[in-house]
Amino acid sequence: MAAPASAAVSFGSVSASEPHDRLWRDLKRSQRAAQLRAIGLILPLVVFLILVFIVPIGMLLSRSVSDLAVPRALPATVAALAGWTPAKEIPPQVYPALVEDIGSAPQMLFGDAAARLETGTPGMRALMMKTRSRLQGAAPSDARKALTGISPKWDTMEGWVAIKQASGPLTDHYLLTALDLHRDELGKVTRVVAYERVFLAAIGRTFGIAFTVTALALLLGFPFAFLAATSSDRVSRILLFTVLLPFWTAMLVRALSWSVLLQRTGIINDALLRLGLVREPLDLMYNRFALCIALIHIFLPYMVLPLYSVMKTIPPQHMRAAASLGARPWMAFRRVYLPQVVPGIGAGALLVFIQCLGVFVVPALLGGPNDQGLPYYIAFYVNRVLNWGLAAALSVILLLSVAVLYALYVRLSGKSAMVLG
């Protein structure tokens, strides 16, 4: 960074004969230098975050609409199918094109393409693999006869429609799948068959759990924050400490504590058995109840702390004034106290809700198969199935939901950061 002329030095060089604008110019120059220096300090972090964080996010999200596996592996077939619609006859030139593509596509690209076709039309991977192994690089004189000889499916529309629909470079296939929709043979968007409908239920479950947890956290957090804000200093300190304690403890540690408590051989079951209240250990873990009770425990600080900081600013005189004007306690609470706490409620509720949408570890450790939300499915399609497009489409849905709620939070709280207090 160039050393800028310090304002103090330029000031000394002004002689009596020079007009004021010299001074003005020097000041401007010095300010500009300071400005550049300041921007130079911001730049490293911004560039770092763009490279390490924002570009990768963009790369992931772009996978939800990009569809290059099939055109890369089967360029001739894609070109041959270009003008075709399922209403017309299958064009004869696609048969030699497919034979040519299968002969020349490298194994890995071909495997990617087959996997992509399978996500759109089950059975396509097997068909492609079978066709490839039967052809064995041979170039038969009658491609159509050879292909239909390998599988009569090549005589029907289905396989060609699958290739046509996956011929990229952009697709809505993954986003539609993430909403339990697909394109039928004629390209019309329809719902998938009932037993394949997974994702709308998962989205609904994610929001449902977040809603339950937020509502219960508010129910428990409101009186607790009220108590902390109105008690004596000593009591208030103890209450706040018990809120900060889980806030600082790693989420994983808190989830593990609940699993120690709730296991079949865990502390609660042990106590119940000893007291003779139950004969058999109860199944307390791997269900919605265990998940919610742990999530409330984990996210309660995010509800209590914003509520507390708002309640702390409300002078007790307000309630007294309301009472002296004849308001009954409930009336005073509803008309005087509550309206002033609303921003805190909004901020706390949104913080809890947003975090619940994205939580992964707690459901993985404590929830059952029917308690998993969007984050689980994203991880599942990345780790197990390697269907990046679908993982990306689900990420788009999750990220959009979080972004909208976050914008609401910024609007409501006037803070640009999700910070507490």
């Binding site: 600082w248 593990l256 425990h297």
Partner: protein, 272 residues
């Protein structure tokens, strides 16, 4: 909440109900966090009370078993490096944001805040994808860079908060006395905002030390951090090393929490 001497019976009942509620809530909040501490000193490999005989075998296991020891060391190394990097980048950016006046500052703030908003699974998956592309998949450096990106916004927030109370004229006075901008920052500004810088560094360290999800995607077996190791062992009912690890993590987070509270006190003291 005090009971006034003139309180009627229903009022007294109300106050006692609230007190009982507060007590139960404290139990609910603090209780589960400490349940595994006694277990970590148990000699038996069972998640059971009462504990028949005490021993330090799980702690011994934690520092001697190659897997656990590597996880502890990985966590310490990654969290320290990420915290230092995030603090350097974050303090510089917070100072620059505080000094600069330009249009689009809101947009810059938004860019800086994104790592805090994006759900961890999405961050983990995308950085896994990108780091693998540039050959940093399954490396310590990759994990450190990822944690730095996640932690830097926290540093910017805490340092910005302290800077907003810092009097600009002090910097002008320093310049007037002949200090160049760097000296002015180092000798005048930094001592005043030190508490914010340390708080930010502690937050950054805690974030990196607590993270499971992002590390789960980015770290290979050789980079496995303590939380990842714990997550992998979570369903092992025989090896209680995990309770020792959890106790260590709990003690560490308590120490960090005390550190941050201390910084807050110091800040209040300097403000007076």
């Amino acid at each position: 909440m005090r009971i006034s001497p003139y309180a009627t019976l229903p009022q007294k009942v109300g106050v006692w109900t609230i007190r009982l509620f507060a007590l139960l809530m404290c139990l609910y909040l603090a209780g589960p966090i400490v349940v595994f501490i006694p277990l970590s000193f148990s000699d038996k490999a069972l998640f059971h009370y009462p504990i028949q005989s005490f021993s330090l075998r799980w702690y011994h296991q934690l520092v001697t078993s190659p897997e656990w020891l590597r996880a502890v060391l990985n966590s310490l190394a990654v969290a320290t490096s990420a915290s230092v990097l995030a603090t350097i980048l974050g303090v510089a950016a917070a100072f620059g944001l505080w000094r600069a006046r330009f249009r689009g500052k809101e947009a810059v703030m938004m860019v800086i805040m994104t790592p805090m908003i994006v759900p961890a699974v999405i961050s983990g998956v995308s950085m896994y994808l990108a780091l693998a592309k540039v050959g940093l998949g399954n490396t310590h450096l990759g994990l450190i860079l990822a944690h730095t990106a996640l932690a830097a916004p926290l540093v910017v927030i805490t340092v910005s908060a302290t800077l907003s109370k810092f009097d600009t004229t002090l910097l002008r006075a320093a310049a007037n006395l002949g200090a160049n901008p760097l000296t002015a920052f180092r000798r005048v500004c930094l001592p005043v905002i030190a508490s914010g810088v340390f708080t930010g560094a502690i937050f950054a360290f805690a974030l990196s030390f607590d993270d499971v999800v992002v590390a789960l995607f980015i770290a290979g077996p050789a980079q496995r951090t303590l939380p990842v190791q714990m997550y992998m062992q979570a369903n092992d009912l025989v090896d209680l090393t995990i309770t020792a690890a959890a106790t260590v993590m709990l003690v560490l987070s308590l120490a960090l929490m005390v550190g941050v509270e201390f910084m807050k006190k110091r800040e209040v003291a300097t403000a007076r």
